[in-house]
């Protein structure tokens, strides 16, 4: 009973972690959508689109990098955790 | 044990439950967005078709200012009474209602179907006379209607306005409508 509970708990926590990591990607994708919408608007209204594109070229990579760093850490930790658990059970 | 059984059944059918739940949510959203809006019921069941075919009227005969002013105007007793006065012209119970309004001098409380917000300047003249747009384009095939439209055929949202203006290469400068 207890072990089932623990497994379920681990799974729930892992799912929650996955959700939180996907949230940051959601934020990044949202920002990309937003900025591209603004670029479309500035082209449509002939309102100096060059500036918008310039700003977006700086802003978007920053957000992507931030999210990738988080994902990198998350993936890096969990790959190791699995190994860690395997060696534990092996012992 | 009961709890575990319940958990097992839930686990087994989790996919189905999930699908059912999401289907309900999607349906609710679709209903909310595309569902029929409340039908508008007019005080008199006016028959456009009859008036156009039998009485040989045109739109401008009753909607007096379509071609010359911003507002097209909805005809009221003073326009109706040009034809309907004294003896009823038909056996329709609707006409009796109209005559009652005319006799008592009360205005018919028509409900507006097409309207633009107060911060929008819309001119029928600009669209009908200058732009040469047919009434059908926005109001639908009114001459075939035997009773008043229960909901607008075309919604006067800014998105719809801009869409048409872009298609017809007319200005969509904000100042043309907002001032």
């Amino acid at each position: 009973m207890k072990t089932i509970n623990n497994e379920l708990r681990d799974k729930i926590i892992f799912a929650a972690q996955l959700v939180s990591i996907s949230l940051i990607w959601l934020l990044v994708i949202g920002i990309i959508f937003w900025i591209s919408n603004l670029i479309y608007l500035s082209v449509d209204l002939k309102d100096s689109p060059g500036i918008s594109i310039g700003i977006s070229l700086v802003a978007i990579p920053v957000f992507i990098t931030l999210a990738s760093i988080l994902t990198y850490v998350f993936v890096g930790f969990h790959r190791e955790k699995k190994k860690h658990l395997n060696t534990d059970s092996g012992n | 044990m009961n709890v575990i059984d319940l958990r097992k059944t839930i686990k087994k059918n989790s996919k189905r439950i999930l699908i059912a739940l999401s289907a309900v949510i999607v349906l609710a959203m679709v209903w909310e967005i595309f569902g029929a809006p409340n039908a508008i019921i007019q005080p008199i069941n006016y028959n456009h078709k009859l008036h156009i075919e039998k009485a040989k009227l045109t739109c401008v005969d009753c909607h007096l200012f379509v071609e010359t002013m911003a507002a097209a105007t909805i005809p009221n007793i003073e326009v109706c009474s040009d034809c309907h006065s004294g003896e009823p012209l038909s056996k329709s119970p609707e006409e009796v209602k109209l005559l009652k309004y005319i006799e008592s001098g009360k205005r018919i409380p028509w409900k507006k179907i097409y309207s633009v917000p107060a911060h929008v300047y819309f001119s029928h003249r600009r669209h009908v006379t200058i732009g040469e747009i047919k009434c059908i384009q926005c109001h639908g095939n009114v001459q075939e209607l035997t009773e008043p439209a229960s909901h607008p055929l075309w919604l006067a949202t800014m998105k719809n306005c801009i869409k048409c203006h872009k298609e017809n290469k007319v200005t969509y400068d904000c100042l043309a409508c907002h001032h």
């Binding site: 972690q17 919408n37 603004l38 670029i39 700003i55 930790f77 | -």
Partner: protein, 447 residues
């Protein structure tokens, strides 16, 4: 399992204590702050209901306290991430007990500061227009993007170095294990994990510095992109950045001193830390004076009539008291205290820090209001008196700051435990090795 971990961390027990022991004064403080915040909320809702007329702003002075506080709070937020990134990058060993607090300041104050432009809006209900119909060409949108980026970056930068500590809390068991397990991301301190973490922190700290600098530069652009006298100046970008770091360090020291006193962390936050930060503050104070001097000298020397109106308004006019108060608070007091070792004690540094925070707030006031109060056309001079609403929202902002800090200290260690441990275990040797590598090679020098 529990006993093992407990034994190993016993030395730093003092750092766990704030999390597990909650005194009556804590609840009292939280209750009091919540009361203030609730009251602030009521006042804000009243402002939304009646319109911005309830503030003291008027026609020539269209921006008031809200924008002043926006610039001020965002300035304070530079304490953190920027200072901690610079210290980490330069491998300053004395950074270890400081970085966490600095990063927390950033996250909390940035959130408060970022809200201020929304408070300032006449139509907060239309704020979404920025997303549906925004103009990236407007400096306000530059702000929105850069503050979002900085907030994301600094939260990540606060969170990642905290993971090992969260894992420690998880292993100790006790309250809310699931919460710590969720946040610890399966950290077990293996070599690979350590490598991943340190690599991520390294990339982040290099990235965070330009983002942080861009944020305050962009905030200065709000002013310097206009043609107004006193604002339209190329020096504003660096001037604001320097001012921000300046006020940030001061705020950091105030927070450090209060926590030191409140949680009895004298053993961790020693005089030497304050002295080092004090020296940094002194440098920033001199730098600030240099920028201020250049800013006003160019104005006075050029003597453009509209520019002179604004300058005289500050030097001898209505704002003279605030202008000279700013000079005293930002330059005279800190320099006198920090330049002499005799005064450079904890109370002395506290006085200097408080004076700098007040001075920097006055500086923001001196930048925003006088330029607006002296319109170029031959119009009457404007007047600005903040109303009760504005004062309340200012105090409310400060209350959110304190509350944020208190709540944070209840859930996470306010001083990075693993970094202290690492310092104890490894850095002494490492520093020795590093310092020897700086010295001339004895074998070579003999020849």
């Amino acid at each position: 399992m529990n006993e093992e971990t407990k034994n190993t961390v016993d030395i730093d027990e003092a750092l766990y204590r704030p999390i597990y022991e909650t005194g009556k004064s804590f609840y009292f403080a939280v209750g009091f702050l919540l009361f203030i915040i609730g009251f602030t909320l009521v006042v804000y809702i009243r402002q939304v209901y009646y319109g911005l007329g309830v503030t003291g702003m008027n026609q020539p002075v269209t921006w008031g306290f809200y924008i002043v506080n926006f610039v001020f709070f965002v300035g304070i937020s530079h304490a953190g991430t920027l200072i901690s990134a610079i210290l980490r990058l330069s491998k300053a060993e004395w950074r270890r007990p400081i970085t966490r607090m600095a990063e927390v300041i950033t996250a909390i104050v940035l959130a408060i500061g970022g809200l201020h432009p929304i408070i300032d809006l006449g139509r907060p209900d239309r704020v979404l227009n920025i997303f549906t119909a925004g103009r990236l060409q407007s400096p306000l949108l530059w702000d929105v993007t850069s503050i979002t980026a900085y907030f994301t970056a600094s939260t990540v930068y606060l969170y990642l170095p905290m993971i090992p500590d969260i894992a420690k809390l998880r292993d100790r068991g006790g309250k809310m294990v699931w919460f710590y397990e969720f946040l610890s991301w399966g950290w077990h301190g293996t070599e690979h994990q350590k490598k991943v973490l340190s690599r991520a922190i390294n990339i982040l700290m290099v990235m965070v510095i330009p983002i942080a600098i861009s944020v305050h530069t962009v905030i200065s652009y709000i002013f310097s992109m206009t043609l107004q006298p006193g604002w339209h100046s190329t020096i504003f970008g660096p001037y604001f950045v320097v001012g921000a770091i300046f006020s940030g360090i001061a705020a950091l020291m105030i927070v450090m001193i209060s926590f030191r006193k409140y949680f009895h962390l004298e053993n961790y936050l020693k005089l030497v830390h304050f002295r080092h930060l004090g020296t940094l503050l002194l440098i920033m104070s001199l730098l600030w004076f240099y920028f201020t001097f250049s800013e006003y000298l160019t104005g006075v020397f050029g003597a453009e009539p509209h520019e002179m109106d604004v300058i005289f308004y500050k030097f001898t006019g209505t704002y003279a008291i605030f202008f000279w108060g700013m000079v005293v608070c930002n330059f005279l007091i800190p320099v006198v205290i920090l330049a002499f070792k005799k005064f450079k004690t904890i109370p002395g540094i506290l006085i200097a820090s408080i004076s700098v925070v007040i001075g920097m707030w006055l500086e923001r006031l001196n930048i925003v209001i006088p330029s607006l109060a002296n319109p170029r056309m031959g119009l009457d001079m404007g007047m600005y008196t903040p109303s009760f609403t504005e004062w309340t929202l200012f105090i409310g902002g400060l209350a959110v700051f304190v509350l944020g800090f208190l709540v944070f200290s209840k859930f996470f260690p306010i001083i990075s435990i693993w970094e202290i441990e690492e310092g104890r275990k490894e850095s002494v040797k490492e520093v020795e090795k590093r310092v020897t590598s700086y010295l001339p090679d004895p074998a070579n020098s003999v020849e």
